[in-house]
Amino acid sequence: MKTVSMGAPRSSTVKFRMPTRDNLVPIRVDVEVDGQRYRDAFTWNPRDPDTEIMSFAKRTAKDLKLPTSFVPQMFHSIQGQLADFRSYEGQDMQVKEKIVPLKIDLRVNNTVVRDQFLWDIGNLESDPEEFARTLCDDLNITDPEVGPAIAVSIREQLYEIASQSVSAMREAKMSKKRRAPEFASNSKAMNNAVDMFKYFGSKGSVIRKRKEWYLYAPVVDVISNEKTVVVAKDEAKL
């Protein structure tokens, strides 16, 4: 089998954005008012005008029959996260082909999903939404709320990595190290990156070893209602 030899990973510097096809921000809202708690996670398009945030907050409160005291807190939470995202936007971020493992470990209503997979954060055309859709279809997950949760989780991890890349670049610039940023950015996230050379080198193969299969197999559990209650209580304690 002819082996493909890869050159040095090409890297480019782009303005900060989510390393996905759509520049969408994962938003997590956790508001508590008068003993009532509202937790939610969804994806937001930062190009939508801010007026949308208010109408979205009001509409959500109305749909979920929450008292209107929730609305200002929701609004501020969402706006704050969007502002954080936007604060990164002017800065440079390094983009190169780098495979990182992403993890999914969440519970939505009665479904528990645990998964681990590799993701190329240099691929600016990647689509967490499509991944989530496919995953749910393939694993026959009936609850429609699982998909968005998976997508948001992936996005959050990607966002984390991207923002780290931005801050790493900034550090590199500030510390005035003229060396190639790749060496400087050996932070924790990058250490997890998988070295593709190992696989594409002469002795490697892209096919995963059988003994590693269990690590990367998704696990979907549908738990009973009683257990859900227990698990929820545990989570609330955290």
Partner: protein, 504 residues
């Protein structure tokens, strides 16, 4: 089946939530489908669509048989949404949600749109009696909430979602839909022409100015404009779909003149109507036609003698001040007014006087002027209007009396005027006496009725007296019986009524 793409075809009616197999891309020519021949199909025509859809309205429900909204097998879809089909994007959607089709892929692309839309519709149709909320929907959809919200709102507006679903918000939803359907000129081909601009964003009447966007893309048709009008508030708040920027909008002023240009015809009608119906503004505005009651009143007040008209109606029986004006107005009404161009629209008083004098003719105008002069010389203060009408009609006289001897004309005119005046006075006296007669008759009738009532009351009183006496007798009898000793008192109490009734 020639129906529009049936969401739940009869074949699969037994398995309610099962979605139909993806159909051929179905391009339904809007509003022109013949009713289905297969069985009884329920025609769902919401009020908004009735005004805009052609009479051969489309039958849009799925299965045959009596349609009940609660049954999960029958989904009702309004006729203006007949273009919908799973898996295919119709031109309506391309037109109204262009941000999904402008070449972007991913979260804003056509596949995403189709996915959102089909999922939303399927979810709703699984439980059509229940209203699908946006939060519930977006929690089950993988995508950014902004796009989901837009698709959701679009589907709700077009009745593909939450149509007839039971929820407190349903009435508002329908109203909003009707409003939106009526107000969005771009949605329906036969959109009613609005004289006032309704803002597409907040569905309120635009005030003095509004912003319009003429953004057309390849998918707009000749008979449709993707024209969006928003009021100033929405423009400032950026309350338009995100695909647009503020630069796309142009400001358009609505001037008061453009809105309410009272033509002569309308003014004529207004005056007529006021004289006929007096203060019944409803009838007045009907008579005038396309003016609301408020407009009529406002216009009337703005007329220089508007107040006088109001006054003349009230003081019809008194003939001190408004003689000439009343004459003129009645003359004009009786003559079935002809259209005349106003001499000079800028000066309203002049315009009105020129108008009236043109109507009644030169002779009568001159006569009126003469009479007014003579009246004025005697009675000073009352005729403010007639004053002005004198001076202006005098000026107006000259163009009409050119070439004729002023004196002769005046004499003739004054004689005519006198005769007419006397006739009018006689008529008025006659009608006065008639009115008085009628009033007297009324009073007479009333008196008669009262007398009858008195008689009746008298009779009743006598009856009451009689009854009272009877009662007194009964009481006496009872007391007497009570005083006599009896062995069993209970029996007495039972027996007592008997002897009492016999005596009465």
């Amino acid at each position: 089946m020639a129906t529009p793409p049936a969401p739940v075809p009869p074949a699969t009616a037994s398995t309610a939530p099962a979605p139909p197999p993806p159909q051929m891309p179905y391009k339904a020519p809007p509003f022109s489908q013949p009713p289905s021949t297969a069985g009884t199909v329920k025609a769902e025509i919401p009020p908004a669509a009735v005004s805009t859809a052609p009479p051969a309205a489309v039958a849009a429900a799925a299965a045959a048989g009596p349609a009940t909204q609660d049954s999960p097998y029958i989904i009702n879809v309004p006729s203006y949404s007949a273009w919908f089909s799973y898996g295919a994007v119709s031109d309506t959607e391309r037109r109204l949600l262009p941000e999904f089709f402008e070449g972007e892929a991913g979260s804003r692309g056509p596949e995403a749109y189709t996915y959102y839309r089909d999922t939303l519709v399927r979810r709703f149709r699984a439980r059509p009696a229940r209203r699908l909320t946006l939060t519930e929907a977006r929690r089950g959809l993988i995508g950014d909430v902004g796009s989901v919200r837009r698709v959701f709102d679009f589907l709700e507006e077009w009745g593909l979602i939450n149509y007839g679903a039971s929820a407190p918000g349903v009435k508002q939803g329908r109203d909003r839909r009707e409003e939106a359907a009526a107000a969005s000129q771009s949605s329906l081909p036969a959109g009613a022409a609005m004289s006032r601009k309704l803002c597409v964003g907040c569905s309120s009447v635009c005030g003095s100015a509004y912003f319009t966007c003429d953004k057309k893309n390849a998918f707009t048709f000749a008979y449709d404009q993707a024209e969006i009008n928003i009021c100033c508030r929405c423009y400032v708040r950026a309350n338009y779909r995100p695909g647009l920027t503020p630069a796309d909008f142009k400001k358009v002023e609505i001037s008061e003149d453009a809105k309410s240009d009272w033509t002569d015809k309308e003014t004529l009608h207004l005056l007529e109507a006021v004289l006929h119906y007096g203060e019944n503004w409803k009838k007045v505005s009907e008579h005038v036609g396309s003016r609301s009651e408020k407009d009529c009143i406002a216009r009337l007040i703005r007329l220089p003698f508007g107040e006088q008209f109001m006054g003349s109606k009230d003081q019809k029986l008194q003939f001190e001040t408004d003689d000439d004006v009343a004459d003129e107005s009645r003359a004009e009404v009786s003559k079935r007014l002809r259209l005349t161009p106003l001499a000079d629209a800028s000066n309203p008083i002049m315009a009105q006087v020129a108008f009236l004098s043109a109507i009644v003719g030169s002779g009568v105008a001159a006569a009126a002027a003469q009479a007014a002069i003579s009246a004025q010389s005697q009675v000073d203060m009352n005729d403010s209007l007639v004053d002005s009408s004198i001076s202006s009609t005098k000026e107006e006289e000259s163009p009409y009396t050119n070439g004729l001897s002023a004196n002769d004309l005046l004499k003739e005119a004054s004689a005519n005027a006198q005769v007419q005046l006397e006739k009018e006075q006689k008529d008025i006296e006659q009608s006065l006496s008639d009115i008085v007669d009628v009033q007297m008759k009324e009073i007479q009738d009333k008196i008669n009725r009262f007398e009858q009532k008195e008689l009746l009351m008298e009779r009743e009183r006598q009856q009451l007296h009689h009854l009272r006496e009877l009662l007194f007798i009964d009481q006496l009898a009872v007391v007497q019986h009570q005083s006599r000793p009896h062995p069993v008192i209970a029996e007495n109490e039972e027996e007592k009524p008997k002897p009492v009734t016999i005596t009465s």
